[in-house]
């Protein structure tokens, strides 16, 4: 295992050591650089997909090529689509035993604490390395109850009917340029089905690791929570520190049926050379609840606005978003709630933190469609600036087509206070620790929603972001 020099990034120094290492390349297949219909067809053929999926991909590629780049959000102009490997297959097949994962990869996941977490507090784990899931397993007891937790590829293979019924229905390829790209070259990700009334009390987790330089990771996730069922899905990710940029562009589609509840937690910790452009959307039906807990700490640029469409009365959507931008980072995070039916409720809480010239912001939409009366929505976005050089933006969009609704919006921007620092320091706490404590306090309303292990993890990552932060 070798370690890339960190000088090109130079911040989050602890990151390089803990997560920024990489294994020697040892894939079984790597597509040619760049993106052509041949490469897309090749990916599909290698996966042995049905024709409809192959066609779907090729169609999506056409859409991708026609769609303009977004002109808002962050600077995506520097992404060079020709200089990316779109498919890097790490092993010949995915396995249910860590012993069968190649030693280097196993060591990487060990270092990231995945097998240990699986033992201690998870119901199932998927581990993706570059383009493919190398390890995937769910507890037998859940399998017996009919819970499906597979890589998305295996979902297609083993449950084609169910897969086809929902795939692409929440986020069509034509949704946006990056959704089209993902639809063309998707690989890996998770496929989850939770049968009626089944409650998966302990989280399922997927971990995404990029290893190869100049690659794009395009996992695809499809989650179906049937009536009255519950699941908490957690995803984490890291990548080596490289001097050139990588691209991560996922699509996540979720359907929560009547009375069901889904919670989707993300702890995004990409290295600072990764473009993270992700489309995430959920449909919540009668009395269903969808919750996104979205923590963005890493990446060069993140543009991600998880959304909930409340399709039937009683549906509830919730988005809790944390965005932390350090030097050279831009977090354009937020969320969208769309009230398509009357008597639906939603809540967005966003906390963004910027330091060392980083830029973190909230971009959100509250939409109430015609006929969706008696809806309630509350948006709260707070920004914390750690120094003068940093920047925070708030773009709260509202499209309200009904009168009988209650919409609340509150936004605050504050600077980490000298008085707060002095107060904590006067109790013997060092300046760095004091600043980290203030930041942890700032995001506490969201972190306290996380299971304990993830709350600890989140605070640890915040510490890492805060290293040597206040002058």
């Amino acid at each position: 295992m070798t370690t890339e020099p960190t000088t090109t990034v130079g911040i989050r120094d602890g990151y390089a050591e803990k997560y920024g290492f990489h294994d020697d390349e040892q894939h079984v297949f790597k597509s040619k650089m760049g993106l052509t219909p041949e490469i897309v067809a090749q990916i599909s053929d290698m996966k042995g997909e049905p024709k409809w999926m192959r066609d779907y991909r090729l169609k999506a590629l056409e859409i991708f090529e026609k769609k303009p780049m977004p002109t808002w959000g962050g600077n995506v102009g520097e992404i060079d689509f020709k200089n990316i490997y779109y498919y890097v297959k790490p092993t010949s097949q995915e396995t249910k035993s860590w012993d069968d994962v190649p030693a280097d990869m196993k060591r990487t996941f060990d270092k990231l604490g995945i097998p240990e977490a699986e033992q201690k507090f998870l119901s199932g784990v998927g581990a993706q390395y570059d383009s493919e899931v190398v390890y995937h397993k769910i507890k037998e007891s859940l399998e017996k109850q009919g819970v499906i937790f597979l890589s998305c590829d295996h979902g297609l293979k083993e449950h084609e009917e169910l897969f086809k019924q929902y795939f692409g229905t929440v986020i069509p390829s034509s949704d946006n340029k990056f959704a089209a790209l993902n639809s063309a070259v998707w690989s890996g990700g998770s496929f989850i089905y939770v049968p009626k009334g089944v409650k998966v009390d302990v989280p399922l987790q997927a971990y995404f690791r990029i290893n190869t330089k100049d690659m794009g990771q395009f996992e695809r996730t499809l989650i179906i929570v049937d009536e009255g069922a519950y699941v908490h899905y957690v995803e984490g990710c890291t990548a080596p520190v490289y001097s050139s940029d990588s691209l991560h562009s996922a699509v996540v589609e979720i359907i929560v049926k009547a009375g069901g509840r889904c919670r989707y937690t993300t702890i995004q910790n990409w290295s600072n050379n990764v473009y993270n452009l992700v489309t995430k959307r959920a449909l919540a039906y009668r009395d269903a609840t969808m919750e996104w807990v979205d923590g963005n700490l890493g990446s060069k640029l993140t543009m991600k606005y998880p959304s909930v469409y409340m399709m039937e009365p009683g549906a509830h959507g919730e988005i809790l978003s944390i965005a932390f931008a350090g030097r050279g980072q831009h977090q354009d995070a937020g969320g969208k709630v769309v009230h398509c039916a009357p008597h639906t409720t939603s809540k967005i809480i966003s906390k963004s933190i910027s330091k060392d010239g980083g830029r973190a912001g909230y971009r959100g939409l509250v939409k109430v469609q015609k006929g969706a009366t008696d809806c309630r929505s509350n948006v709260n976005c707070d920004a914390l600036l750690l120094d003068e050089a940093s920047r925070s933006d708030t773009y709260p969009y509202m499209e309200i087509e009904e009168d009988r609704v209650s919409i609340g919006h509150e936004a605050t921007v504050s600077k980490i206070g000298d008085e707060q620092l002095f107060y904590l320091m006067s109790r013997g706490i060092s300046k760095d620790d004091a600043a980290a404590m203030i930041v942890s306090g700032f995001i506490e309303p969201i972190v306290k929603e996380l299971p304990m292990e993830y709350a600890v993890e989140m605070n640890r990552l915040i510490q890492l972001q805060m290293e040597g932060s206040v002058g």
Binding site: F422, R427, I429, M437, G441, F442, E444
Partner: protein, 267 residues
Amino acid sequence: MSKTPELIVNDLRVAVEGKEILKGLSLQVAKGEIHALMGPNGSGKSTLANTLMGHPRYEVTGGEILFKGLSILEMEADERSRAGLFMAFQYPVAIPGLSVANFLRSALNARLVRPETNGSGTMPQKKGIAPREFRALLKGQMALLKMDESFATRYLNDGFSGGEKKRAEILQMALLKPEIAIMDETDSGLDIDALRVVSDGVNALAGPDLGVLVITHYQRILNYIKPHRVHVMVDGRISVSGGPELALELETRGYDWVRNGKEVTAP
């Protein structure tokens, strides 16, 4: 007392935003002593307290501060605290999202885990106080200050009433066990019962191992916390010092007579 006082302030001059506030102030506090500092609004009492504690906004332009024989002027607030200095704030600051318990444990651990490092930057990573031990300690101290247990899980000073904030300051003092404590108007805003509780708290801590500088406007608290010495500060200097009777005299006569520069006793 014949030993050298732990805190020695000599001819201290302090400016805030270019304006001189302390104009040659001298004062000595030894362990085992209780001093009261009184003086009109704006005379510089909080400036003195903040300067002693190392607030970066207060610029020392002259004089010296010795703590246990060493100058602390170059030390940051956290180092001064770990060295054994404490200030109860006139206006404690709220830290939303940080629970009282977590805060106190971090403050305690900063003392245990991080003995001074001589600038080498290497920090011995000893384990801090065990959670169970800490809970017991906290519970005991809170009971002494008649604080409800739920207090520990509230966010530090966030939405605290005036009285709760002051109690929380004393709680911190009790746990951190300073050698010299400066209490900046800890009595202000307390009702009679709270005043008694807080005073009892201070008295329980007072003794041969603690020196206290009580900044106050009112004789009232001095009925509970008996000072050995009383100093009156006017316009950035100690203008008069005396025994406990001086506080009573001020109460009846106001500050005008000290403003005229009359010395009752030499310090």
